[in-house]
Symmetry: C2
Subunit: 217 residues, 2 copies
DNA sequence: CCATGTTTTGAACAGTGTTTAATTTGTAAA
DNA sequence: TTTACAAATTAAACACTGTTCAAAACATGG
């Protein structure tokens, strides 16, 4: 018979349709203006019906959120096989910033916005973020082991590294840098990032590792 | 007669009352749940009447925002007379983080939330933020001049320093550190901050400058 | 006491997320 | 083919937002 399976597939398809529409609106308008009614309009259904597929709006945002983390993870995978841990760390940070600049909307939802927080706490299968953090932490730990970084609690250093790049990106994403003209921001971010890495790895040529390329938005 | 003056004073008093009520609610509930109707309730007026004193809700939030910056500025003033620029820089960062931990709600509104951004752009008399930035920038510039920091574009370094502490605080304020238990966070922040400063000022005893005190929340 | 200008109100508008009873639809069995 | 039942979908409502505006209340100077 296999009708059960088809029904399940159709349900899953509908969920995907909703998510696709949501993401499209999300890119056009940002998540604040991505309303249930607009999503419903886009897929030509009634607002209420969406609640048959998603618990609430945050549940939809969480779906977008997850896709964002897949995107970030894929980008990180392109540099994760760099043998030298300090070089890898430098590249990981660069990639993270690059992601933030290229996908501001995703970044906002993933790391700044707070409406989702509740959903994340309920859904403890939240490995997407964890795995990105683990990649970073492992690299930091390796740097400590090889003596590339002065020894200390690995979590504290990892958190600091993350905080730094997050600070750079989030100030930019939320437009908190009125003192610096917008068009200079990518260069400032790049210079700032390079400067900091040079402080941590004085014996490396950070510029060479990053190919001296400024961030592209 | 002086009635004009009294009227003006009463108007200003009303504005203050609204702001006070707003701030109280803001502390209790955060700015998302600080609604016009709740503010009106608190001062026993009608919601509509508030619009006779403030252009809109963001205008009220901007008032809170300004008070927050006064608070931050006052805290910064307690360390700004430190003669050695690198010590001053270290203490400024510590103070900034301390502010963020002690006044999360203010911090959120001042540096993370985006609803106000529009008002800030309109009101170009927005020196509150500028002056805090200038204090930091001047200190960084002095560090470069005295050779305490390797030379580079002062804005890039300043922005990076700010980004780092902002990253630490904002990840904490928005609860983005699921991988680290909440009760350890102040210690992790402290360790992370000390570690980074040590990287920038290897010849300083950062721990001593900060009196080895962990952040208090 | 009246006229004028300010302050305050109450009701409405358009928008939000969400719930629920009623309706439509699709499918399997009689 | 018709009936029966379950799933999908709708329409309407609810309780909230921020905001506007005509009307009412008030205070004040003449």
């Amino acid at each position: 018979m296999g009708n059960k399976e088809r029904r399940a597939r159709e349900r899953e398809q509908m969920r995907e349709d909703i998510l696709d529409a949501a993401i499209e609106l999300f890119h056009e308008l940002g998540f604040e203006k991505t309303t249930i009614r607009r999503i419903a309009d886009k897929i030509e259904y009634t607002p209420g019906n969406i609640y048959a597929y998603f618990k609430n709006k945050n549940d939809i945002l969480f779906g977008i959120h997850q896709r964002g983390f897949k995107l970030l993870y894929d980008m990180e995978m392109t540099v994760v096989d760099t043998p030298d841990p300090s070089e890898r760390l430098i590249k990981l940070g660069q990639t993270y910033i690059q992601f933030g600049l290229q996908h501001r909307q995703y970044y906002d939802l993933m790391f700044i916005d707070s409406s989702i927080q509740q959903v994340i706490h309920e859904d403890d299968s939240w490995q997407e973020g964890q795995s990105s953090y683990t990649v970073l932490r492992d690299t930091v730990a390796e740097c400590i082991q090889t003596g590339a970084l002065p020894p200390n609690d690995a979590d504290s250093i990892t958190f600091g590294m993350w905080a730094f790049v997050h600070g750079l990106v989030s100030l930019y994403v939320r437009g908190r840098s009125a003192m610096i003209p917008d068009e200079y921001m990518p260069q400032v971010l790049q210079a700032s990032y390079t400067y900091f890495q040079t402080a941590f790895f004085p014996h490396k040529n950070v510029d060479n590792i990053l190919n001296s390329e400024a961030f592209v938005v």
